[in-house]
Symmetry: C2
Subunit: 381 residues, 2 copies
């Protein structure tokens, strides 16, 4: 798919970009946040809810879907889009990250990773061949290569080895995607830049992968336990060496201010379980920082989570009602808080795109982050 990514505008005050990514299931306007649908569902939401909140692309997890119900079954049933009733773009991770974070008894070999399922201990194996076959079965619009994600902190030697292996695996994934006709049919495959805290390794990884001409590139190995300044430093050490004419994706991140800070560093795409996970615990986002709806102070509050925010939850329900649902253990609490939190993220991305178009992204995003962090700090104090 030539010209699948259009760089519509580059910010003058920051490295931020306004772009447009074409996929087999539609266009994605960037910067964008991707709700996470680990097991073939964005937890507690219907696909209709996802459309309503303006989701443009969602994420599916190869590791989980391959364990249950299996990628073969999903293929037999017409692919992941049909299976879960979502006809928009889907990005799937390769499962590599979960092998390193969830699975037991890992054994890294040159052709992939042998591991035991976290569900039942079954012996499994994922390498370039397997992850590309699975993602072909799923019918991903954007497939990710398998990589070796070093822990944080990490020794330089171990990191260099992981970068080298990730490069070899990425190359194999790309070759397999060409041979199988996956790339030719218009699916995308994104490479992943590792390198932990070593700036030179990150640059080397980015440049060597750039030479392979992938349809997109991700910053990997972040959000693995490092503090925020370290995370932002790693992103800043990576994006300058990623091709400017390809979409850039920061994997598994982050808080609302982190998203804006990474957009300013030149990242276009994000995914994170944070907004949906904390929603199920009654934590919801506002422009003045997150609030906990379980708090007694919301008991008789007739106002919405965010006044004037145009989502189903804020249009129709009071903080008092949401607090009641949480106290009563009602499932609807999770649904309504997830709708709000994901819409809050998607709306923030829409605002970012508008300010990039208007040319005032730099000042706007600094003011937004300051209000959010000041409000959050005031609430904790």
């Amino acid at each position: 798919m030539p010209d699948h990514f259009q760089l519509l505008k580059t910010d003058t005050g920051t490295a931020a970009r306004r772009g447009r990514l074409r996929t087999l299931h539609g266009v994605i306007e960037t910067p964008i946040f991707m709700p996470v649908g680990t097991q073939g569902t964005v937890k507690s939401l219907t696909p209709a809810h996802l459309r309503e909140i303006g989701a443009q692309v969602i994420l599916g997890n190869t590791y989980h879907l391959n364990l249950r119900p299996s990628s073969e079954l999903i293929a037999e049933l017409g692919g992941l889009h049909k299976f879960m009733g979502w006809d928009g773009p889907i990005l799937t991770d390769s499962g590599g990250f979960q092998v390193f974070s969830l699975a037991k008894l890992r054994d890294i070999r040159e052709d992939g990773v042998a591991f035991s399922s976290h569900l039942d201990g079954a012996k499994l194996f994922l390498g370039p061949k397997e992850v590309m076959a699975i993602q072909r079965n799923l019918g991903s619009d954007i497939a990710m290569v398998i990589d070796e994600c070093p822990p944080w902190p990490c020794e330089r030697d171990a990191c260099a080895q992981a970068v080298a292996r990730s490069y070899r695996w990425a190359k194999q994934c790309r070759e397999l995607a060409v041979e199988s006709g996956f790339l030719g049919a218009g699916h995308h495959v994104f490479a992943i830049v590792q390198g932990s805290t070593f700036d030179d390794l990150r640059r080397e990884a980015a440049e060597s992968l750039a030479a392979l001409d992938f349809p997109g590139y991700a910053v990997g190995g972040v959000s693995v336990g490092e503090p925020e300044p370290e995370m932002l430093k790693q992103v800043a050490a990576t994006t300058p060496f990623m091709p400017a004419d390809k979409p850039r994706y920061a994997m598994g991140l982050g808080t609302p201010p982190q998203l804006l800070k990474m957009i300013a560093l030149g990242v276009d795409m994000f995914d994170c379980v944070l907004p949906s996970r904390v929603a199920r615990n009654g934590l919801v986002f506002t422009p003045d920082g997150p609030i906990n709806l379980k708090n007694e102070k919301h008991r008789n509050d007739p106002g919405p989570i965010v006044e004037g925010l145009d989502n189903y939850t804020c249009r129709n329900f009071s903080r008092a009602y949401l607090r009641h649902l949480i106290a009563a253990g009602e499932m609807l609490a999770a649904t309504l808080c997830t709708i709000h939190n994901l819409h809050f993220y998607l709306d923030l991305m829409a605002q970012a795109r508008a300010h990039l178009e208007a040319g005032d992204f730099a000042t706007w995003h600094r003011a937004w982050v300051e209000r959010y962090e000041t409000g959050a700090a005031a609430r904790v104090a």
Copy 2:
């Protein structure tokens, strides 16, 4: 509200009726099923889902809402409709049934029942004065009187006493509803006919309550553990003595065939937790009886629960997908199965209304029940 109930048609082959009930929040076409929203939410559904599946009226539980978050708080926040974001009619039970089924340490006195909360053991009291005040706070469109619900089986003397006390309480509830302006403002209050398995007591209860001229009447004391033939016998012993020009409501019932059988006995309104409760366990209804989606046979079934049924779940999702969601412990399973089961009930009522209008209800309902019961029996065998 004079002429609040119009009897549009009475069936010739059965005692079934096609009616129209006016309330402050809209018109209810009968026969109708009312989804149960115990704690201010029909579990796992948004009000938008309820509209989509054709819900005309929903039920709220006085006992639960008064314990948590309290009827005073709901009144302060503008009433139950505003609180839960549902602008259609709401019927509230009086809480009496829950006092007899859930609460501990009951003490029945002439002015009401003293009991301990099932949540925290707090000492509480519900009598005619209390239940009418609570339902006024909630802003019910249809309030129920408090009654004494005898257990099954029950001695005749104890039953006669319960019937007599229920009459006195009903009379007081009606007087309070007149004095407070609740009835005058267009809210309805329904009386409840008790009498357990004693036909003469049921007739006496129905006739004495009829003389008090309530806007509607309910068959109470059914669905308390008795077998189906006994339940239908009690309904059949009650409806002939209920006023023909008022809506009739069978409380807490039942399965799809039971609903049709009771419509044939002259009942207009139903509520039951069955369809939503079993949905959360993966049991869903079809015209050939219920099926359990957890069953291995649905693992790769690409078809919907019911082919051609026009609800969100059947239009968009396969049995295989629903089974996957259940196996993965995903909340969306509850939402999608509840949408289906409640729509199945509401659609059945719509079919019943259409066949009453067409004049072939008697033959249609017999054929429907036979297919359902034959299919269910075949599946168990």
